[in-house]
């Protein structure tokens, strides 16, 4: 960065993004330099190339990409920035892989405050440093006011999985156990509590977290027993299990009493007419494991802070219809079906 550019500082307290910050000129260089490079600083980024080049160890390369369009941008327990880092790390980690690097693409709406952008960038930087997964390349675009909801972030992640570890969604087999790493619905309720037309008071914080260390502990404990892992984000636990049921051509039978739900989340869902099984999470994983490995994996999960409340919540069953069934707390049966459209609060 030249001295001349350095002299023209952004007004980070009061300034706003305008179209010049996406035009490829000096203003854009200021924005990227003072907000993104300052926050994410690392040798690869500092090299200033349009790509990052790095050595990779032996193994299977894992790659994922994800877009983040959350509203509101800031919520109890996180923001769109930390979410973008955690979500992508988790998608890599669910393959049993060690995440190595991230890229970040920003689509920013004209008029967006520098202060908020810096807050988001700092949060991303903190999340990536804490996880040990640097952001090594990126992209910035600015669109006219009204064409984006503040800021959208797309992150791509790469990682390496051991060559002999293959976790995949079609590997669930009847008799396998279903493990869940903790309480469901925290993220969705935390976000909903901040929505302008729905604001309600809750002590619930988003569970947004990077799960790769928890995954590493599980892979280390019982690598042969793991069939598939997935983080149940949008659509909640219900969507994830329905996807796995289809992909593995099996059914699931859950025990309602065994699924961990915080009383505050249950209460908020009750108020809104929602089902916690369908509410989003950002720091939880579901694992399907061979029955003989389930207890070992559960112990490994519970020994990690992010799996302290882990539980075995059900099992894989034979079912030509690929239903996710649940034995209710009453001993009756029900389906945990795909969500039809968006889960909407009911009228009465």
């Amino acid at each position: 960065m030249s001295d001349r550019i350095k002299r023209r500082k952004l007004d980070l307290a009061h300034g706003r993004v305008d179209l010049s910050h996406g035009a490829g000129g000096r203003a854009m260089a200021h924005l990227i330099g003072e907000i993104f490079h300052a926050a994410f600083d690392n040798p690869m980024l500092r090299a200033g190339n349009d790509q990052a080049a790095f050595e990779v160890a032996a193994g299977r390369m894992v790659m994922t990409t994800d877009g983040y369009v959350v509203s509101p941008l800031f919520f109890p327990g996180g923001d769109i920035g930390s979410l973008a880092v955690h979500g992508t790390i988790n998608d890599v980690a669910m393959a049993g892989a060690r995440p190595l690097y991230l890229s970040a693409g920003f689509i920013i709406e004209e008029g967006f405050a520098f202060a908020d952008l810096k807050r988001i960038a700092d949060s991303m930087a903190a999340a990536s440093r804490a996880a040990g997964v640097p952001i090594v390349t990126g992209d910035t675009k600015v669109v006219e006011r009204g064409k984006a909801d503040g800021v959208f972030i797309t992150t791509t992640g790469v990682g390496i999985a051991p060559r002999d570890l293959v976790l995949s969604a079609e590997q669930a087999r009847p008799g396998d156990k279903v493990l869940l790493s903790g309480f469901i619905g925290d993220h969705g309720v935390a976000v909903m509590s901040q929505r302008q037309n729905l604001a309600f008071e809750t002590s619930i914080q988003s569970d947004s977290a990077a799960l790769h260390e928890l995954v590493a502990a599980m892979v280390s404990a019982a690598p042969q027993g793991l069939r598939v892992m997935r983080d149940p984000t949008r659509g909640g636990l219900a969507a994830t299990l329905n996807e796995l049921a289809q992909q593995s051509a099996v059914g699931f039978r859950l025990d309602e009493d065994a699924v961990p739900v915080r009383p505050e989340v249950a209460a908020a869902c009750e108020l809104l007419g929602l089902d916690p099984l369908y509410v989003a999470n950002e720091g939880k994983l579901v694992a399907v494991a061979a029955p003989e490995a389930a207890d070992t994996l559960l112990a490994a999960m519970r020994a990690h802070p992010l799996g302290r409340d882990a539980a075995i919540i059900g099992e894989v069953i034979e079912d030509d219809h690929h239903f996710v069934q649940m034995t209710t707390a009453f001993g009756g049966g029900r389906i945990v079906d795909w969500l039809a459209g968006e889960q909407l609060p009911r009228i009465c």
């Binding site: 209460a267 239903f323 209710t328 009756g332 029900r334 009228i347 009465c348």
Partner: protein
């Protein structure tokens, strides 16, 4: 969760189930209609069907406000929302309800109509206040439960002298629908359902009172038990109904004493009466026109009546002729009796009213209970 967990205790549920099994006379069968979609939802969501003896059968009723809203009224709302000056505010579960030709508010919104989902009538008033250049219309639907908040919104808008707020009123009344089922149980030559009693609505009764259902116990010799929406409320109410039938009694009993009184909420009733009056008749989806079953704004509040303000033309649109919603809403048929169920008609692509809202009989069975159909077929 205080005051909720107490009503979801599985152990107590099994005890009540055992009491029902003991009380139910094996030489006879019992058919009880739960009028309200909230009860249908609870029965399905908690798998209560599995806890009842085979001779106690629940018959799902028409009590889902989204389900009984006719296609024509949805079409009217969509047409209104398409006016450039209008912002239509609506409860979330109305967004996906199909109008004619595969339209819905959700699709109209995607096509550019200004349709906003609100969680309270007061949110709609706030939008009108904040955006004085927009004509803000609240799309009001629901039974007696949701009418007082609509009345409150109109009262508030009047007090604030808002000239850009109005209500598209579709509020309907519970008792005329129950009377309709009892007086005309048959439909198009199909014999009516056997009904030995009713589970009375929960929230509706909190407003209009348990006594509102006395006419059915008296005139039609049907026991009524007003029940809360929690699963233990439903189980206990079924036991109370079985006992009434066994004893040859037919009175209104109130299981939901923590919320419902015999006379109901007089203040809410007065607020509603001040602003609304009966329509001569109102169309119910699957029912046709039911006399004195809907509400409209009184003349004094005509300025807040969207139908008058925008000279909205009444639209009448027919349901899909292959759809058995009418018979299902009256308890004559079960969801699986309809040939569209699970084929053309699913929650993703609802054809008929019963599949539209999560509280409709077909949606509840599809979403929570259809595994039983496959299990039954496998056994057969």
């Amino acid at each position: 969760m205080k005051y909720v967990d107490e009503y979801r205790d599985g152990k107590v549920a099994r005890q009540i189930a055992a009491a029902i099994a003991q009380a139910a006379d094996p030489s006879r069968s019992y058919h009880f209609m739960e009028f309200c979609g909230g009860h249908t939802h609870a029965i399905s969501r908690y798998g209560l069907e599995d806890l009842l003896p085979s001779n106690v059968r629940m018959v799902h009723g028409p009590g889902c406000p989204v389900c009984v809203l006719p296609v024509g009224r949805i079409d009217m709302a969509i047409r209104l929302a398409q006016r450039p000056e209008v912002t239509l505010c609506t409860y979330g579960d109305l967004m996906r309800v199909p109008g004619s030709h595969g339209t819905s508010l959700l699709r109209a919104k995607a096509a550019g109509a200004d349709i906003r989902m609100v969680y309270s009538t007061l949110d709609a008033v706030a939008i009108a206040e904040a955006e004085p250049t927009r004509e803000v219309v609240f799309f009001a639907i629901g039974f007696e439960t949701t009418t007082p908040p609509t009345a409150l919104a109109i009262k508030l808008a009047a007090a604030k002298r808002l000239s850009n707020f109005s209500v598209f009123c579709n509020h309907v009344l519970t008792p005329p629908a129950i009377r309709g089922i009892l007086e005309h149980p048959d439909l198009a030559g199909q014999p009516g359902p056997r009904l030995d009693g009713f589970i009375g609505p929960a929230h509706v009764s909190a407003v209009i009172g348990a006594d509102a259902f006395a006419e059915f116990a008296r005139d039609f010799a049907k026991p009524v038990v007003v029940a809360g929406f929690e699963p233990l409320d439903v189980m206990q109410s079924i036991l109370m109904l079985v006992q009434q039938v066994n004893d040859g009694r037919h009175v209104v009993e109130n299981q939901y004493i923590r919320a419902v009184t015999p006379e109901g909420n007089r203040i809410a009733q007065a607020e509603v009466a001040a602003i609304f009056e009966l329509r001569d008749s109102f169309e119910w989806r699957g029912f046709g026109r039911v006399p004195a079953s809907g509400l409209q704004l009184r003349e004094a509040y005509a300025a807040f009546d969207a139908e008058r303000r925008f000279a909205m033309a009444e639209i009448s649109a027919a349901d899909n002729p292959a759809c058995d919603c009418g018979a299902i809403l009256r308890g004559i048929k079960r969801p699986t009796d309809c040939k569209l169920f699970g084929t053309l008609c699913t929650p993703e692509t609802p054809m008929g009213s019963c599949m539209v809202s999560s509280e409709g009989a077909c949606a509840a069975h599809w979403t929570y209970g259809r595994f039983r159909d496959h299990a039954r077929r496998a056994v057969a």
